[in-house]
């Protein structure tokens, strides 16, 4: 499986951040979509069917943890990487408890994010591929 087959959805209310990160991931051959709040993200899941979601926590409206919870209920195979500016240990524990795959802090090194996305995708394939 190559990067071009991996569909990523970036969810962040900072539009400049989401768009710039999307461009960088596209350069790295990922298929990337963006959503600027939790409600939009949940809608986009149905339309885009991403493999991996990169999710901010503190956004207007739905908090990232609520989005994560909803996603795990409706789309348990989609892997979620939390990418936040203010990740506390408590947030990280909560994200893990809710089934998040990874937890990264902003600003993030693009290589680390890329590796994490690939690992999340492999996890998804491991879960969905027949044994």
């Amino acid at each position: 499986m190559k990067e071009k087959d991996i569909k990523v959805l970036i969810v962040d209310d900072e539009t400049d951040f989401a768009n710039t990160l999307a461009q960088r991931l596209k350069i790295r051959n990922f298929k990337v979509g963006t959503a600027y709040d939790g409600e939009e993200a949940l809608t986009r899941l149905k339309e885009d069917e991403p493999d991996v979601v990169v999710l901010d926590l503190r956004m207007p409206g739905m908090h990232g943890m609520e989005v994560l919870q909803e996603m795990r209920k409706g789309y348990p195979d989609i892997q979620v990487i939390v990418l936040t500016g203010h990740g506390t240990d408590k947030d990280e524990e909560e994200a893990k408890r809710l089934g998040g795959f990874g937890f990264l802090n902003k600003p993030v090194d693009i290589d680390i994010l890329e590796q994490k996305i690939k690992a999340a995708f492999n996890e998804k394939m491991g879960r969905t591929m027949p044994a």
């Binding site: 900072e14 400049d16 951040f17 710039t20 990160l21 461009q23 960088r24 350069i27 503190r58 956004m59 207007p60 409206g61 500016g85 203010h86 902003k106 600003p107 993030v108 693009i110």
Partner: protein
């Protein structure tokens, strides 16, 4: 004044400053993250050997975005710096609108989280007043926070200033629907606020329900 009051006030003030700093660092980190990604995108494009008119235009767009983030950061830094220096002395002459403007800039993020708009309705050319601006900011923050917690999403809070009868009035006027809040989880220490306000020579009035406040403050000759 009781020890309990002093302890409660100290706790609330520390909490206030903590919230302001948390909001500031959150916002700053976001600006830095955008700058980092923008710089990274330029690096990516250079590595790909992107050149020509279209690429030049994109490079310019990215550098403008970096400049914009730096300007936003500098604006926020200016507000935090001014906010911090208000604590240098217990009493000072100050412009109420300026003190409120910087407070709004520093708490805007909390309101944004609930899509609540903080709208300024300031009377221009307010006379300077003499007092404790930090304490006034603390009180206004407390009332704004209460409104932000108890108002539904997409509401509006108007922060109004005007002169009336030799005093400056600051009004916190919520517009929107109230939501159910678990009161045991969110305590609003009104008694403490009342005492602080009296110490400042002001008075608290609630009009049309529990969420409207006015503060008369004596204009001083300085």
């Amino acid at each position: 004044m009781t020890d309990n009051f002093e302890q409660e006030l100290r706790f609330l003030q520390m909490r206030f400053i903590g919230k302001i700093l948390a909001g500031f660092t959150h916002e700053s980190k976001n600006y830095l993250a955008i700058i980092k990604e923008s710089a990274g995108l330029i690096e990516d494009m250079i590595k790909l050997g992107k050149s020509g008119e279209a690429a030049s235009s994109q490079y310019l767009e990215i550098t403008h975005s970096i400049e914009e983030q730096i300007e936003k950061s500098a604006g926020l830094f200016k507000y935090l710096n001014r906010f911090s220096h208000r604590m240098d002395t217990k009493l000072s002459g100050f412009n109420c609108n300026e003190a409120l403007e910087e407070l709004i800039a520093l708490v805007n993020r909390f309101a944004n989280q609930k899509r609540i708009e903080l709208a300024k309705d300031f009377q221009q050319d307010l006379p300077q007043i003499y007092g404790n601006p930090s304490m006034i900011q603390f009180l206004i923050f407390s009332f704004l926070e209460e409104n932000i917690i108890t108002l539904d999403q997409n509401s509006r809070i108007i922060i109004k200033t005007e002169t009336a009868n030799g005093s400056i009035m600051i009004g916190i006027i919520p517009e929107g629907n109230l939501i159910e809040v678990e009161r045991e989880k969110v305590e609003f220490p009104y008694e403490t606020y009342d005492i602080v306000l009296k110490q400042l020579g002001g008075a608290l009035t609630r009009l049309k329900g529990a969420l409207k406040f006015t503060f008369p403050l004596k204009v001083s000759d300085i």
